[in-house]
C-alpha cells in the first residue's frame, strides 16, 4: 500500500472568504458532519483570516471563532479540527482560548519571507504538543532556495509540518514541483504540505504535482469553497487521486455527496468560480482574499476591480493588506479623474 496523503479541508476557514465570513453555526455543523462522514482527517475552522481575524479590515464574522469551534468540535467522530493563526493579527492568547475548546492543530502563517515573526507562536504550540504547521503564504514570490531557508526557521522553532502556500493561485505545476521537491529534500523527517487556489484553473494539477514531488498533506475545499476562485476542489482532487492510485484513505462518494448535497446549497449564488476578478488574482499574483473587497471598492468608488487588483500586484502587496484596496481605489480615481 502506498503512503496515505492527508487531506486538509479548508471549506470552513478559507471558504469563509467566499461569503464575507457569514456562515451560520448550522452551516458549519452540517458541512463538518458531512466531511467527518467522508473521513476527511483534518478540517480547519475559523474566520478566513484566522484567530482574531474579525475586524473592519477583513470583515466581522457572523459568530466568534469560539462559537464556531464549540459548535463543530463535540460532534466530530473522526476528523480533527485545526485553526489558522497569522502573527500580527492573532496572538498566543487567542490560541490559548481555543486550546481549551479542544483544538490541537494550528497553522501559523506568515508571508513567505517573514518566517521569523512566527517564533513565539510556533514554539508555544510545539511545546504544548500541537500538530504545528508552518505556513509560508504567497510562496510564488520567493525562489525555492529562499523558501527552504525560511522554512528552516519554522522547523527550528518546532514546526512538524511545512507548507508551500500558493495564496494567489499563481503557480503552475512545474513551479510546484520545484518548490515542493526542494522542501522534501531539505526536511526528510518533517511533513510537507501544499495549499492551492484555483484562480488559474491549475489547483488540481498543482496538487497532484505536489504529491508526486513528495508532499504529505494537501489542502482543498469541497465545491471549490475558498478565497478567489476557491481552493483545490477536494472531491475532484480525490477522484483524480483514485484514478492515479494515490491513497487518501477517504470515502470518495461521501465526499462527492458533501460537495453536492451540503456545500453547494450553502453557498448558493456565491459559489466561487474563475470569474474575471479571480482570474486577475491568479494572473497578477495577488492575495486571493482581496477579491470581494476589490469588488466592494468598485461599487463604492467606481474604479474597476481588475484595475485595483492589477495595481495591488504591481505594488507587491502581501496577505493581510486589505486596507490598501480602498486606498489604491481612491488614488486611481484621482489619477483617472
Amino acid at each position: 500500500m502506498s503512503k496515505i496523503i492527508k487531506i486538509h479541508d479548508m471549506s470552513l476557514r478559507d471558504g469563509m472568504h467566499s461569503i464575507a465570513h457569514q456562515f451560520s453555526l448550522k452551516n458549519m455543523v452540517d458541512l463538518s458532519q458531512a466531511l467527518d462522514k467522508a473521513r476527511v482527517p483534518l478540517i480547519e475552522v475559523t474566520h478566513g483570516d484566522g484567530l482574531a481575524g474579525g475586524s473592519v479590515n477583513y470583515g466581522f464574522a457572523k459568530h466568534t471563532n469560539s462559537e464556531y469551534l464549540s459548535a463543530v468540535i463535540p460532534k466530530l467522530k473522526y476528523s480533527k479540527v485545526s485553526v489558522l493563526l497569522i502573527p500580527g493579527i492573532g496572538t498566543i492568547n487567542d490560541l490559548k482560548m481555543v486550546e481549551d475548546l479542544g483544538v490541537k492543530s494550528v497553522r501559523v502563517a506568515t508571508h513567505c519571507s517573514e518566517a521569523d515573526v512566527s517564533e513565539q507562536h510556533i514554539s508555544y504550540a510545539a511545546n504544548r504538543g500541537f500538530d504545528t504547521v508552518g505556513f509560508l503564504m504567497m510562496s510564488h514570490m520567493l525562489s525555492a532556495k529562499d523558501i527552504v531557508e525560511q522554512a528552516r526557521k519554522m522547523a527550528g522553532y518546532g514546526a512538524n509540518c511545512l507548507y508551500v502556500t500558493d495564496s494567489s493561485g499563481h503557480m503552475l505545476p512545474e513551479e510546484v514541483t520545484e518548490k515542493v521537491s526542494a522542501m522534501r529534500h531539505a526536511f526528510p523527517d518533517l511533513e510537507i504540505g501544499f495549499h492551492g487556489h484555483h484562480n488559474l484553473g491549475m489547483a488540481v494539477a498543482n496538487s497532484i504535482a505536489a504529491v508526486e514531488a513528495g508532499a504529505d498533506r494537501i489542502d482543498g475545499s469541497v465545491a471549490g469553497f475558498g478565497a478567489g476562485a476557491g481552493n483545490t476542489p477536494l472531491e475532484v482532487f480525490a477522484a483524480v487521486c483514485d484514478l492515479k492510485g494515490i491513497n487518501l484513505d477517504i470515502d470518495l462518494s461521501a465526499l462527492m455527496d458533501a460537495a453536492e448535497d451540503v456545500a453547494t446549497p450553502i453557498m448558493g449564488d456565491k459559489l466561487p468560480r474563475v470569474s474575471r476578478g479571480a482570474l486577475t488574482l491568479g494572473y497578477a499574483g495577488v492575495y486571493s482574499s482581496f477579491l470581494l473587497h476589490a469588488i466592494r471598492a468598485e461599487k463604492k468608488h467606481g474604479v474597476p476591480a481588475r484595475e485595483i487588483l492589477l495595481e495591488l500586484g504591481r505594488r507587491k502587496t502581501v496577505g493581510g493588506q486589505e486596507d490598501m484596496i480602498e486606498d489604491v481605489a481612491l488614488e486611481l480615481l484621482r489619477a483617472g479623474g
Partner: protein
C-alpha cells in the same frame, strides 16, 4: 545647560534616536549601551564621541552619578525592560520606554504629554510605532464624538523591522490595542501589523478605522483630523494623511503615510522615525521641566 542622557539598546531604534538627540538644544546624549561589541549602533556612537559599553544596563549603572545621567531611553525588548527600568529608576533616572513592555503609563505626545509633565512618573511608555502613528487620529475622532471601536493596521517594510520587533509581535498588537482604548479613547481597540518585503522598500503606512456610536459629524471630524495632522507634523515632518477621512455609514477611515527623516535607516522607515521623534519630543519636554526646576 543640557540634561544628560543615556540610550539603552544599539539597534535600529536606539541608533536612529541618537541622531535626533544630537540635534537637541536641551538634551545631551552621553552614553550608548548595547550587548554586542560589534553592533553598528555602538560603533557609530563611539565615533560620535559618546561613551559606550556592551555590558548592557549593568555596564552603565556605575557611571550614572558621576556622569549625571538624568534621563534614559530603553530601546531593547519587552522582555528585559522591567529589570532595566528598576535599576535605572533606583538611581533616580527618568526612563522613557520604547519597548512594548508598557509598565509605565502610555505617552502619545499630542494627546497626553502635558498630563505626564504634571504627574512626574518615573517611567513612561511610548506604545509602539504603529500606536504613535495612529492613536493621535483615533483621539482626533473621539474628542468630537464617542468611538465605540478603533482599529489600526500598520504596515512597515521588512527591512525596517529588526529582530526585536519580530520577536515582540504579540506585544505589539496587545500594547497597541490597549493604548487605542486608554489614550485614543475608543471603547474597544484592535491593532494589526503587517510586514511587507517589497523592493524598493515601501514607506510606512497606517490605516485607522473608527466606528462612531452615532452618525459621524463629517465637518467637525474632518477639521479635528486635519488639526491633528499638523500637531504630529510639528515633530514628524514626514507624517501625512494620504486619503480621507473617508466616511461610510458610521465608519470613519483615515489612510496615513509616514516618511522618515532618513537619520539612520532611509526615508521608508517612517516607523523608526515616528517612534524616536515622539520619544525625543517627550524627553525634551521633561528636560525643559528639569532645567526650569534647577534654576
Amino acid at each position: 545647560m543640557k540634561i544628560r542622557c543615556a540610550l539603552i539598546g544599539s539597534g535600529n531604534i536606539g541608533t536612529d534616536l541618537l541622531y535626533k538627540l544630537l540635534r537637541s538644544d536641551v538634551i545631551e546624549p552621553v552614553w550608548m549601551v548595547g550587548i554586542d561589541a560589534d553592533s553598528d549602533g555602538l560603533k557609530r556612537a563611539k565615533d560620535l564621541g559618546l561613551k559606550t559599553t556592551h555590558g548592557g544596563v549593568d555596564g552603565l549603572i556605575p557611571h550614572i552619578l558621576e556622569d549625571n545621567i538624568q534621563i534614559a531611553f530603553d530601546a531593547t525588548s519587552a522582555y528585559v525592560h522591567a529589570e532595566n527600568s528598576r535599576k535605572l529608576v533606583e538611581k533616580g533616572v527618568k526612563v522613557i520606554d520604547l519597548t512594548p513592555a508598557a509598565i509605565g503609563p502610555f505617552c502619545v505626545p499630542p494627546v497626553n504629554l502635558e498630563e505626564h509633565l504634571s504627574q512626574g512618573k518615573d517611567n513612561v511608555n511610548m506604545v509602539t510605532c504603529g500606536g504613535q502613528a495612529t492613536i493621535p487620529m483615533v483621539y482626533a475622532v473621539s474628542r468630537i464624538q464617542e468611538v465605540s471601536y478603533g482599529e489600526i493596521i500598520a504596515t512597515i517594510s521588512s527591512k525596517s523591522a529588526g529582530p526585536g520587533t519580530r520577536k515582540n509581535i504579540d506585544e505589539f498588537t496587545v500594547t497597541t490595542s490597549g493604548a487605542i482604548e486608554k489614550v485614543g479613547g475608543a471603547d474597544k481597540g484592535k491593532a494589526i501589523i503587517i510586514l511587507n518585503p517589497a523592493e524598493p522598500p515601501m514607506m510606512m503606512r497606517d490605516t485607522v478605522h473608527c466606528l462612531t456610536k452615532n452618525e459621524p459629524d463629517q465637518e467637525k471630524i474632518t477639521q479635528s483630523v486635519l488639526a491633528m495632522e499638523k500637531a504630529v507634523q510639528a515633530y514628524v515632518p514626514g507624517y501625512r494623511i494620504k486619503e480621507g477621512p473617508v466616511f461610510d455609514g458610521n465608519r470613519v477611515s483615515i489612510f496615513l503615510e509616514v516618511k522618515g527623516m532618513g537619520d539612520y535607516l532611509p526615508e521608508y522607515a517612517g516607523n523608526l522615525d515616528i517612534m524616536t521623534a515622539a520619544s525625543a519630543k517627550t524627553a525634551e519636554m521633561f528636560a525643559k521641566q528639569m532645567i526650569e526646576n534647577q534654576k
